[in-house]
């Protein structure tokens, strides 16, 4: 077994926990504070005082609170380097009752709270802007029940996605969500942002897969909607309030998730194509030919793959092409699924839709191929300052937006590139610059958001609005919708203590 392990380590850049491995925190971080960089006015909240800290110390004990702004870079700074707060207190509850006590106390004392999961948000949802109390969910990580008959799994919101997936796979199930940050992101955070991920085309989004939640309101009241049925029409579907609201309406503490059976067979193809037009034609063919087995369709442009090669030494297995597609199928019949994929690839090659490609059903090779796509986010961190965008756009405009930004930025950008979940029209547009300046930011925003609106797209597909996009909510939403959001926020959190400055324009 030792040699087997050595092979794995030497031949694969291990994808698990890449987020953790590449984080660099230091107490002397030079990063400027979000409040200064984005010119934010502090809300009408109280500052933390010694008696507040004593309350949390009495409630949680010495080992479950962290104090002192200089020790908390890991919690104050987001993974990408977009935002930095100055909280001097992190609290780590282990139970829903403790979350309730914390929020109740903060609400009474007008202390703002920033709920935090794995801190892998791309829009700075999970880091404070000022001195909010950081409510870290990392110790709420128990799996309460795995029902391998119904596929219902009940667990705490602080469970790490990869750990949960490992646990359910022992019972022949799979978590219907998969993303590059799986080694660090927590399910509570995934729900809060309604994360989409790589297999949404197959399993649908979290609004459909989450059967129930338990959440705590700003005043500490525990809302129990922890149902375990697919069908339950007893009044308003309150769980949906907490999915996608980024911790602004309540803190999710427990989740009931529908997990499908683990597929018995998996096939992957990594394909090289000469144009975006061919990408669309191949995607259409894949939908028709692969049908119910299709589980992921990802597109990358040449620049994306060059980036991962340059920064992480992850090479394309087929050399350079203008576009790449990753197509994955999963099913229950290995022979049938493989034949289906083989036939699709053979015809696509004959019809000149694809120029080249590799295909495999071997878990090790599947993992290696997925790394090229999954670790793009990690590669971005080594490429200067990157403006990351996450749009839902009609497929015919998917890449015109990237070309438009290339022209718009000219020599001001280091590189402009795009990749994303073609299967659900989700483009990740990236603009990489040598360093962040106000001038460049103003050149990109709101220009890029307005262009998305012009093509009837959404300015946030799966990352949420967070802090970075909050002020642009009205670009994508009708004013009446934003107005209703404010009403809802005021009802659920009248003092506005939950994740202030996020989602709704501040």
């Amino acid at each position: 077994m030792m040699i087997k392990y050595a092979v794995t380590l030497s031949r694969i850049s291990v994808v698990e926990n890449v987020f953790f491995q590449t984080r660099r925190y230091s107490s002397t971080s030079k990063r400027s504070l979000s409040k200064d960089q984005y010119n934010v006015k502090r809300g009408n909240f109280k500052a933390l005082e010694p008696q507040h800290i004593q309350f949390f110390r009495d409630l949680l004990g010495e080992t479950r609170i962290l104090t002192g702004v200089n020790n908390l870079d890991k919690y104050n700074e987001d993974w990408y380097g977009f935002a930095k707060g100055e909280s001097s207190l992190v609290v780590k509850p282990k139970t829903t009752d403790e979350v309730s006590a914390i929020l109740s106390y903060c609400n009474k004392n007008l202390l703002a709270v920033c709920p935090q999961g794995g801190n892998t948000s791309v829009v700075a949802s999970g880091v404070p802007v000022f001195d909010e109390v950081i409510l870290s969910m990392e110790l709420m990580n128990k799996i309460h029940k795995i029902d391998d008959v119904s596929g219902v799994v009940i667990f705490d919101a602080g469970c790490v996605l990869e750990n949960l997936n490992n646990a359910v796979s022992e019972k022949g199930l799979i978590v219907p969500l998969d993303l590059g940050a799986k080694g660090n992101c927590q399910l509570g955070g995934n729900l809060s942002t309604n994360a989409g991920g790589l297999r949404l085309i197959r399993y649908g989004n979290l609004h459909g897969n989450v059967l129930g939640v338990e959440a705590v309101k700003a005043d500490g009241e525990i809302i129990n909607c922890l149902r375990t049925f697919k069908k339950d029409n007893t009044g308003y579907h309150l769980k949906h309030l907490f999915i996608g609201s980024e911790g602004t309406l309540g803190v999710i503490t427990k989740i009931a998730l529908q997990c499908p059976p683990h597929p018995k067979s998996k096939n992957i193809a990594f394909l090289g194509l000469e144009s975006y037009d061919k990408v669309l034609k191949t995607f259409k063919k894949a939908k028709f030919d692969l049908g119910e087995t299709l589980s992921a369709v990802e597109v990358l442009d040449r620049e994306s793959v060059i980036l991962t090669e340059e920064k992480l030494a992850l090479r394309s297995p087929i050399g350079e092409y203008p576009f790449y597609l990753i197509i994955e199928t999963s099913g229950s019949n290995e022979q049938y699924d493989s034949e289906k994929m083989d036939k699709f690839l053979e015809i696509s090659l004959k019809e000149n839709l694809i120029l080249n490609g590799v295909a495999s059903s071997e878990p090790s090779k599947i993992k290696n191929i997925w790394e090229i796509r999954e670790r793009t986010a990690e590669a971005l961190r080594h490429d200067g300052y990157v403006f990351c965008y996450d749009f839902s756009v009609p497929l015919q405009h998917f890449y015109t937006l990237v070309d438009l930004m290339k022209t718009h930025m000219g020599s001001k950008s280091h590189r402009v590139f795009g990749f994303g979940h073609l299967g659900d029209s989700n483009l990740h547009l990236q603009v990489s610059v040598r360093e962040h300046t106000k001038e460049i930011q103003n050149m990109i925003e709101p220009f890029v958001f307005e262009k998305v609106r012009e093509i009837n797209g959404s300015i946030s597909s799966e990352h949420g609005m967070g802090f970075l996009k909050a002020k642009y909510l009205d670009i994508s939403n009708h004013q009446s919708a934003t107005k209703l959001m404010r009403v809802l926020k005021n009802v659920m959190d009248p003092n506005g203590i939950l994740n202030p400055y996020k989602v709704i324009p501040y």
Binding site: K4, A6, V7, T63, K264, P317, L345, V358, E362, P363
Partner: protein, 254 residues
């Protein structure tokens, strides 16, 4: 130009979690994904590179095992191997197939095919034996260069850099020879779609140990296969004093 024989073994894929059978007679293989042994992939890649450099004229891949072993032969063919030989061994016979048997099979095929180079993976990741290359060289009475991280062909000889405990060792040996591939010899290519299509037309010959005159009766018996002991979970301690106390309690410090 050299004719090269490569050995390709079908093993449980290295990304799969290994499970021991409840009766401890072996590991669970039913319904478990298999692939080519990673060291054998390196051996195939090296052979293909030698052919691309016009040092080799033909490459033959051999796999001993059940019908599914043809999958790894097909992979080798798609990587650039010219033809495959499937030595059919199945059922109980396959479960007890050992390096001594495989080396005799490979030696016989190397002679039949008039090969002057045999390149094998240094070991298989399932049994970790690291014996087949050495035994094949002994059966053929050919020189051996094992744990190769670099191969250079000269006039009727090869220069091989070997990975040894103390660092690297460079040796020269006459051809014909047996080489075993180490991890750093190369980075194997993926079989591309056009080559996968072409591989379907390449020939795979079937034979048996009996046809080759090799007796595969088991020489050793596996008594028991067990999981490695589970590592105990750590504990988080509040301070240094508690840590020292814990270490003393466990007898780790005086």
């Amino acid at each position: 130009m050299a004719r090269i024989l490569v050995g390709v073994k079908r093993v449980i894929d290295y990304a799969v979690k290994i499970r021991v059978k409840p009766d401890k007679t072996g590991v669970v293989t039913d319904g478990v994904k298999h692939s080519m042994n990673p060291f054998d992939e390196i051996a195939v890649e090296e052979a293909v590179r030698l052919k691309e450099k016009k040092i080799a004229s033909e490459i033959i891949a051999v796999s001993c095992g059940p019908a599914q072993s043809q999958d790894v032969i097909r992979t080798a063919l798609a990587m650039g191997v010219d033809k495959g030989i499937h030595v059919e061994v199945s059922g109980k016979e396959y479960e007890t197939l050992q390096p001594i048997h495989v080396s005799k099979i490979l030696a016989k095929i190397a002679q039949n095919e008039k090969c002057d180079m045999v390149i094998l993976g240094k070991q298989a990741i399932d049994d970790d034996a690291n014996q087949t290359a050495q035994m094949t060289a002994a059966v053929l009475d050919w020189p051996q260069a094992v744990f190769a991280s670099k191969i250079e062909k000269g006039e009727n000889e090869i220069t091989v850099t070997r990975e040894i405990d103390g660092g690297l060792e460079t040796i020269k040996c006459k051809l014909p020879a047996v080489i075993s591939a180490d991890l750093r010899l190369n980075e194997p290519r993926y079989a591309t779609l056009p080559n996968i299509m072409k591989a379907k037309k390449k020939p795979i010959t079937k034979t048996t140990p009996k046809d080759l005159g090799v007796d595969v009766a088991p020489r050793i018996k596996i008594v028991s296969v067990e999981d490695p002991p589970v590592r105990q979970a750590g504990v988080i301690l509040p301070d240094v004093d508690a840590l020292v106390a814990k270490l003393k309690e466990g007898g780790h410090v005086p």
